[in-house]
Symmetry: C2
Subunit: 328 residues, 2 copies
């Protein structure tokens, strides 16, 4: 039996309350599959495992079980953000890390465009009036020609740029390094131009990964740089934003509103002041989760596993220094 | 003094509670301007008037004052729909009728796209959960590839088609006569294909003028033809829809939801059952009214007036038999 015929040992780590991911059924024919749902079962499953699939990006059990990873060569995270998986042990190892880039781009872009249009047309206000059975005409805005600043020019940021530009918005990007010419953005500016660009944007969208460079990027000074009329949208990661500073900016009307899918603490605690703000839309970390996303994630992993078993190069390989898949 | 130098008499009919339209200030230098706000003042102003500008499309005072229109040659309605102005006396006269076509297209199209995305992403549901400070993840839909049926392939319907197709939706139209090839729609189907097309659409948008052919078009049978998952959007005119049938279809879950900007009775009465339905968005006949729309209407009329004074052909001339500006 040659190496290509040998079934690899694949451990799948899910959240304790999570069902078996749909679409992974073919895996049992391709690999020896072990299931883990917590630190203990992960520690039991890792010895001998070559591949680890992590579908639980909320808890941090990987660190505890890491010493048992004696044969691990590849970790696949079924999420776009890999911050929860990129613990120092993983970063310093030569284990390859891949992610689910691509799956969520479109649905997240539709979330962003929907939030912008809901805001521009004041559907919030109409729904509030509707609860009082109150007919009240207002003039509202137009998205056409308004300026969108997308912080993070990766795969998700690019899809946001394409969808918002498609309806005639003017879309600029922020990336680690600026560039004049770009297929999706009017221009991509470097991080050092963030505050200047914030002052020009009607809508600010956080679509960056959580890295040491983006953590806390949206602090009081950033909100101070924004327009009073600006809508702030976060579909990236919660800790990119200093939540207390955001709450302060919304309270003092330094910015006009927010649409938030991710938070420093998830679930957002019931007593958090953001819930009660009527210029805020809160969604439960679901912007990318279209009907069928779990099966799509399984399909994507199986496609990469087939490459791995054929000895081919994996796609969606994360640069562990950068914290994301480079080159988008 | 030749005819071109003579100042025409222009009567402007506004609603009783309406301010003088902004942007009409230059008119006083171009014409002898008379203002009317009700049937009585209109009857006093009409004798000798060559031009009548109607900004009030809600009330029906024109009929009462019509016998006084001894020199009237042109009526301009500052709205897209001209049903309120197209009384039999106007229809049978040789007075030219123009409308405000073009001004509202884009903002109405943004309303429609916003309503579709709000629906697809279940922002309604998120806002309801938010009121209870409740974090609840759901999988939601994707607009990409979903089918939009736009009933009415005029200027507004076309802009809706362009904006929804721009983000990758599949857009079909319904017009009096079908055609295979169209620059904006995947296909335009004739009225006789309405029910068949309704059965194929994820989103149904009423963008038709109110005419004898469209009044009551959306009755119980039409809703019966629609998908149970369908969203129904009306930005056309209220009486195109049998409201009781719509309420019945929503109650029986024959259709999934509605976004309604126009109603058979406006304002929608406070006790109307539509207000309390949580799968319905109600707005106060404002889908087209972007900030600055009144000034844009004035500018458009003044542009047509300048043509008229130069003896040139007017634009936006309504075909009084059809009830709209043909040829879009």
């Amino acid at each position: 039996m040659n190496d290509a015929d040998r079934k690899p040992v694949v451990t799948v780590l899910t959240a304790p309350d999570e069902d078996t991911p749909p679409g992974l059924e073919p895996l049992s024919g391709l690999a020896e599959v072990r299931w883990a749902r917590d630190a203990e079962s992960l520690a039991g499953a890792l010895p001998g495992s070559e591949v680890l699939v992590v579908t639980d990006f909320r808890t941090g059990v990987l660190g505890h079980a890491w010493p048992k990873a004696d044969k691990l060569r590849w970790i696949h995270a079924t999420s776009a953000g890999v911050d929860a998986v990129l613990i120092p042990e993983v970063r310093e190892s030569d284990v390859v890390l891949t992610n689910a880039q691509g799956i969520f781009n479109r649905s997240i872009a539709e979330y962003v465009l929907g939030a912008i249009l809901m805001w521009v047309k004041d559907f919030h206000g109409s729904l509030r009036l509707q609860q009082k059975h109150q007919w009240k005409h207002r003039d509202t805005g137009r998205a056409l020609g308004e300026r969108v600043l997308v912080v993070g020019a990766g795969a998700i940021g690019r899809e946001i740029a394409r969808v918002t530009a498609a309806i005639g918005m003017e879309v600029h990007g922020i990336a680690r390094e600026g560039r004049d010419s770009d297929p999706d953005f009017r221009a991509v500016h470097g991080n050092d131009a963030l505050h200047e660009q914030l002052s020009l944007a009607d809508h600010v969208v956080v679509a960056a990964p959580l890295t040491s460079g983006t953590r806390g990027m949206f602090d009081a000074r950033a909100f101070e740089a924004m327009r009073e009329s600006a809508l702030f949208i976060n579909i990236g990661r919660g800790p990119i934003v200093c939540t207390d500073d955001l709450v302060g900016a919304l309270r003092r009307k330094r910015i006009a509103g927010a649409a938030l899918d991710v938070f420093e603490e998830e679930p957002l605690p019931p007593e958090h002041p953001l819930w009660a703000m009527d210029n805020v839309l809160i969604t439960a970390h679901m912007a990318g989760d279209f009907i069928g996303w779990r099966a799509a994630l399984s399909e994507q992993f199986l496609e990469n596993l087939a490459r791995w078993q054929r000895g081919e190069e994996l796609f969606n390989v994360v640069d562990k220094e950068l914290g994301y898949v480079p080159g988008n």
